[in-house]
Structure formats: C-alpha cells, structure tokens
Symmetry: C2
Subunit: 305 residues, 2 copies
C-alpha cells in the first residue's frame, strides 16, 4: 500500500475533513478586492508583476480561509498564464502555499501532446525530471489531461504519475453544452467519452490501489451530466471523479449522488467563482463571505451523497 | 483585405522566402551545446534560471541562423514550462526575438478549455486583454488548440483571433500512431477528425480571406497521414495546414504534395529536432549543421510540392 499516493492522500483528506469540496482558484483581476489590487499597483505600477502579486496575496487569504473546509484546491492555470512569467510565478507560489497548509493540490492544466512533449508536460507539473543532476520535485499532487490525441499520449503522463505517486484526471465528459459535439458521438452504441473511460481502465491496470480501493487515475465528468455519471461510475468504480459545473454552469446539486460510490467516496466537486468571488470588490469582509460559501457548498455536497 | 492578418503574413513569408519550412524550437537541456550550458551554469548555478538562459541563448542563435530559410518558427511550450517561471520568460524572450527578426511565430500550446477559461488562454497568447487599463499586445501570430471539448470551446479562441488578426491551428489528425484511437473513429462513415474539419469550416464562415484566398483558421494534420490529408484538403481548401511528423516520426517527404493546394500554398511543414539538434553537444560548428539541415529540409519540401 503506497501511503503517499495521490488517491490515498485525497481520500484521507476527504474523510478527515468530511469534505468533498474542491475549491477552484481562478483569479480574475476585475473581481479581486480593491484593497489588494490598489496595494499591488502602488508597489509595481499597472504591470504583470502587480497582477501576479495581487493574485498571490488573494489566493493565500482564500487558502487560509478554506483550509479546513476543502479536501483539495484547484488552480486553473489559464488565469495565471495571462500574466506571463510573473503569472506563472504566482501559480507556483500559490501551489507552494497550499502545500505548506497540507492541502491536496490539483493543477487544472488540461494538457495533451505526443511522446516526449507529453513527458515534458508531465515532468513540468508532476516532477521527476532532472534539472542538470538534481531530481526535481513538484508540490502539485495531480493534474488534468486531455485524451484527444489517443492512448499513447496518456502513457507518458501515467508513467511519470506512477513513478512520482501523483494523480491524473482525464477529461471524459466536460461540463459545457458543446461537449456533445465530439464526446457524445456514438460508435457501436458507445460514446467517445465511454471509449476514453475504457482507456482509463486499461491504463489503470498497472496502478496500485489505496487502502480505500481507489487508484490515482481519475476522470473529469461535468456535474451537468448526472445520467452519464451513473454509467461512468459503473465502468470506473475505482476512479475518483473530478466534478466541475455546479453553480453558474447549472449542475443540479441534488443529483450529485450519481457521481459517488456507496462508500460516499469516488468524487470531488469543484466550485470556483461560487466560492471565491461571491463578494463585491469594495466589500471589506470578503473573507467572511468566502468562508460562508465554502461551508455551505461543502454541506450541500454532503447532503446529496 | 486585412494586410496584417495571420494568413496574409504567413503566405507572404512563404512566397518571399520560397519556404514552407516551419522550424520547431523544442529545446532539450541534454542536447544543447556544452559551451552555452556551461556558461549559463557558471552564471546561475544548476538552476531553472541557468536552464532558461541557456535555452534563450541557443534559440537566438538558431533564429539568426534560419531566419531566411524558415517561413515561420514554432516554439513548443512544454519544453519551456518545465523550467517554471524562468522557462516561461525564456519562451516569451524567444518569441520577442523571433518577432524582432520579422519571423512569423506559431506557439504550439494545444490549449483547450471552456468559456472564460478558453478566453483566458486566447488572451494569454494572442493578446487583446486589458491589463488594468492598458490593452495587451502579443508577439505571437498563431497558436495550436485542441477541439475535444467541442465547438463552443473554439469560439472564444476564434473571437479573440479575429479581433487581433491572429491565427489558430486546430488539431484535426495528429501525427502519432495513437491518433487512431479517437480521431479515426467513424460515425455514419465520417471520422471524428472530419467532424473537427467541419467545425473549422463552420467557424471560418465569419473570417476574412487574405489576398491569396486563405483564412487564418488552420488545421494540424500529421505528415504521417498523407491519404487523410487529401480528404481534408478537399474539405478545407482555404485553411493552412500545419504539418508535423516528417523525419523521426516517419512522415514520407515524397508524399507532402497531398497536403498542399495546386497554388503550392496551404501548408507549412514543421521540423524540430531534425533541424535544431543534428549535432553532438561538444561540436563547435553546430550552427553550420543547423543551417545545412534547414536548407536541405526547405528544399526537400519544395521538391515535393
């Protein structure tokens, strides 16, 4: 039993905190508290550095606020890549701070590429590379990946994840309406998404199980598709589902039970804006709002297991 | 006629240089010239900063060497993301230097995500965002994107690209063997890749054509699949194809004509390692080797139009 493997860490956090809530960290400059923004601009002018500093400051406050309520956190890297190298530094500073609070970190990067490029991405975010002669470690516990290029492009990710005891969430059925365009197409009565689920099962054959019966090769399945979730649950009983799409995107919380196993494990439910940006930029007590939203969302999920 | 639109710029470069060669910039530390690596380590120790500096120095030399032989260059961002914020700075420094040489730059990022996240990626690499009150410009001319999440996730990219006169290359049929797993699956005798080609056509309806008859919404089609290329050429006569996979991956140069239109336009052929890493790390005249490889590859492509 690998005590340090991703699924073990995540399941332990879920049970200890009684939380299946993943707090998404998708910072938007225009929604940040004005006090934080103004301080950063005063220090660095209207630059990428100011944006990055403001984001890091806000994220640290959010992390302190939700640390006992979230089983994991998920920075979405697009919102950091917008601010160049400074934005990426903010991403890594956020990851490091989350790790210092012992939070499980999922980097939402949705990468996918062939051969050595896929390996490059895996090393970049999961570690295990050598920088000159030193082995590089990563504070990230798991990443999201895109399967469109085929199973041979999942392998480098699985290989690095296995070696580093990290996790992966493969996009299976995404939460947006357009996910029907390709993912729902059926061949011999089986959808493309189901084919991806089978790839996951195939790749997971070589992976160890944690003490709860799960491995670290998970699936992204939108909260907006609870009926599909039931089918994927049957095919992937040992995978953890990362479930985005409640709140603004319209996923119905009362149907979340379709994403979980009977052990009340097997899924984590993400909320980003619904937790971190429920306040007005001029509001002073925004952390009270954030904590309240996190608490309510955690309880809403637990109520619907 | 938009003189500054991506396809116009690229087609002009192709005709002026008589080159359809895209030089890929996929730096690998272990293959860099020892002189460059040692100088960077001496200055910065065995750090990400040393790796990033060595990569930037090497890339600038490569760009100076191939500037008249390549119609465009294509940094693959995974190889930069491995070195954290410093690596991303090297990526942007490389892009900036390429632009200073008036080279067309395609960032190979293969991003794909929903709604505002897709828009975030588009702004990050194609510009058009506002940083506080200033509009941000990007030196990148075009990016690669992944269509797995559906047509509604292409729209934010198309919208930003149109506004900024930038280009996009959508993954249609990738060069790896595993591209058969999902991309070749057929529904009503039509492959997933062909569905993506139709999405491109649909999205391109609102895009302007350049004076050569092309728009800026291209497709990635692996050199390893020349028969498929003929079919895609028929369906997408006004798209430019980005063609990876000659050389190490086994694409046959003598079949490249299937990727082009009769006007000898409509495709660019990428080579990365086959141009930038044909030398041994201890070799002193590596730039001579790089120039020779670029020249030969450019001519090989032109010979097979």
């Amino acid at each position: 039993m690998a005590k340090n493997m991703f699924s073990q860490k995540l399941n332990k956090a879920i049970l200890e905190k009684n939380s299946r809530l993943c707090v998404g960290l998708d910072p938007r400059l225009e929604l940040l508290p004005k006090t934080i923004l103004n301080a950063a601009i005063k220090k660095h002018g209207q630059t990428n550095q100011a944006a990055a500093d403001a984001i890091t400051t806000f994220n640290k406050q959010v992390l302190d606020t939700v640390v006992d309520l979230a089983c994991c956190v998920k920075p979405q890297i697009a919102f950091y890549e917008q601010f160049g190298a400074e934005g990426i530094q903010s991403f890594w500073d956020t990851v490091k701070y989350a790790k210092s609070l012992d939070l499980v970190v999922i980097a939402d990067i949705k990468r996918g590429d062939i051969g050595s490029t896929a390996q490059g991405y895996a090393h970049a975010y999961l570690g295990g590379n050598k920088l000159f002669n030193k082995k590089v470690e990563s504070d990230i516990d798991s990443i999201t990946i895109n399967p469109f290029l085929g199973e041979d492009t999942l392998e480098p990710f699985v290989s690095v994840a296995k070696q580093e005891q990290k996790g992966l969430f493969v996009l299976v059925k995404t939460s947006n309406p357009g996910s029907k365009d390709l993912q729902d197409l059926k061949i011999d009565n089986q959808s493309i998404s189901m084919r991806v689920a089978q790839m996951i099962n195939h790749q997971a054959e070589s992976l160890p199980l944690d003490e709860y019966g799960y491995h670290s090769l998970g699936a992204v399945i939108g909260a907006t598709y609870p009926k599909s979730a039931q089918q994927f649950r049957k095919v992937l009983p040992q995978s953890i589902f990362l479930v985005p799409g409640i709140g603004a995107q319209g996923g119905d919380p009362s149907l979340l039970k379709h994403f979980f196993n009977k052990d009340k494990l097997g899924a984590i439910v993400n909320s980003s804006r619904g937790i971190t940006f429920t306040f007005k930029p001029n509001e002073k007590n925004y952390l009270t709002d954030i904590r309240k939203s996190a608490l309510e969302t955690r309880d809403l999920i637990n109520h619907n297991l």
